[in-house]
Amino acid sequence: MSIEFNDYQPIYQQLMDHISQRICRGDLAPGEKLPSVRVMAVEAGVNPNTVSRTYMELEREKIVESRRGQGTFVTEEKTVIEKLRKSQAAVQADRFKSSMEQLGIDKETAFQLLENTWDRNGGAS
């Protein structure tokens, strides 16, 4: 299950995003233990040192916490996860906006498109 990485961002940042998304989705539940550094390295197809750095940065942002001798765990603080979800969503919103701008589509049309997609594909309203 190796991840596709882009060329212009450090891998640890991309791996941070990947794990953050899994946490937001609930794929990694609050309080759940993250895979060990080595297992995550094999799964993601990256260097174990990169995974250590990723876990350290996630810990600094309080998204995970490491417990001595036990491993690294997803935070149980719902507010942290909610904040993370909002910031991840904001990044995606920025991306959407800039792609629309590149296509020369104005705000109103973009909103309309978004609404159509939502209605057609369903999803939480």
Partner: protein, 231 residues
């Protein structure tokens, strides 16, 4: 922690200079990629570090001792060429290696071979190219030397074997204590596994950098960088 240093190293084959005035200290641990065009001096560099050849001038040292015939306990070299005996079985190859290499971890070798689904009763002669590569790597890793020099371990392998080989390295290399040097042309595939990169061009080290730092500051891939420095 291991200190590998080259000081003003020049290596010639006949009149041709394969490496010119190389001066550097390698990172103490982790995975370092050595990339560069064919004939740029990558294999020569690995052979010098593992003490298989000697420089015309300058010195290569591991922890202060000049490399040479007795460097086998510090540095293991995985050759691009055939290095196994055809007539031996997989199991016999392990037994043989444990007799030849001091500090060879026989148990680890058996584990690695099993992880890669090789049959210990198969003769080397009858192994596929991919399986020979797997066995070669297993034998090299089981030596557990502080420095591993892997010369083109991915070359000519199908995508699944390449994945397997990289997985084996990531699973069993002790990245905090061992240094693994890998030469390869599969730059894109190798990139996510690297802590460090050296680019060799015309016998000179033209890039010597930490990969994360490189991406953070320059926001480009190793292939872009390779293209820029080898024109």
């Amino acid at each position: 922690m291991t200190n590998v240093s080259c000081s003003n190293v020049t290596k010639k084959y006949g009149r041709k200079e394969a490496l010119r005035e190389v001066d550097l200290t390698l990172p103490e641990n982790g995975i370092a990629g050595i990339i560069g065009p064919n004939g740029s001096g990558k294999s020569t560099f690995l052979k010098l570090i593992s003490g298989l050849i000697r420089p015309e001038s300058g010195t290569v040292t591991i922890n202060g001792t000049e490399t040479g015939r007795k460097s086998g306990a510090e540095a293991a070299y995985l050759s691009e060429e055939d290095s196994l005996y055809d007539f031996m079985t997989v199991g016999k190859t392990i037994a043989f290696s444990s007799g030849v290499y001091p500090g060879f971890d026989r148990e680890l070798a058996h584990t690695l071979v099993e992880e890669m689904k090789l049959d210990e009763n198969d003769k080397v002669k009858h192994l596929s190219r991919g399986n020979k590569a797997r066995l070669k790597l297993a034998v090299t890793m089981a030596r557990k030397t502080p420095v591993l020099c892997l010369d083109e371990p991915l070359s000519g392998m199908d995508p699944l074997v390449r994945e397997d080989i990289l997985r084996l390295i990531v699973t069993h290399l002790d990245v905090e204590h061992q240094l693994c040097l890998i030469t390869s042309h599969e730059v894109k595939e190798l990139e996510p596994f690297l802590d460090h990169v050296l680019i060799i061009h015309d016998g000179r080290i033209v890039v010597d950098r930490n990969v994360e730092e490189l991406k953070e500051t320059e926001r480009k891939s190793l292939i872009d960088l390779l293209r820029e420095v080898t024109v």
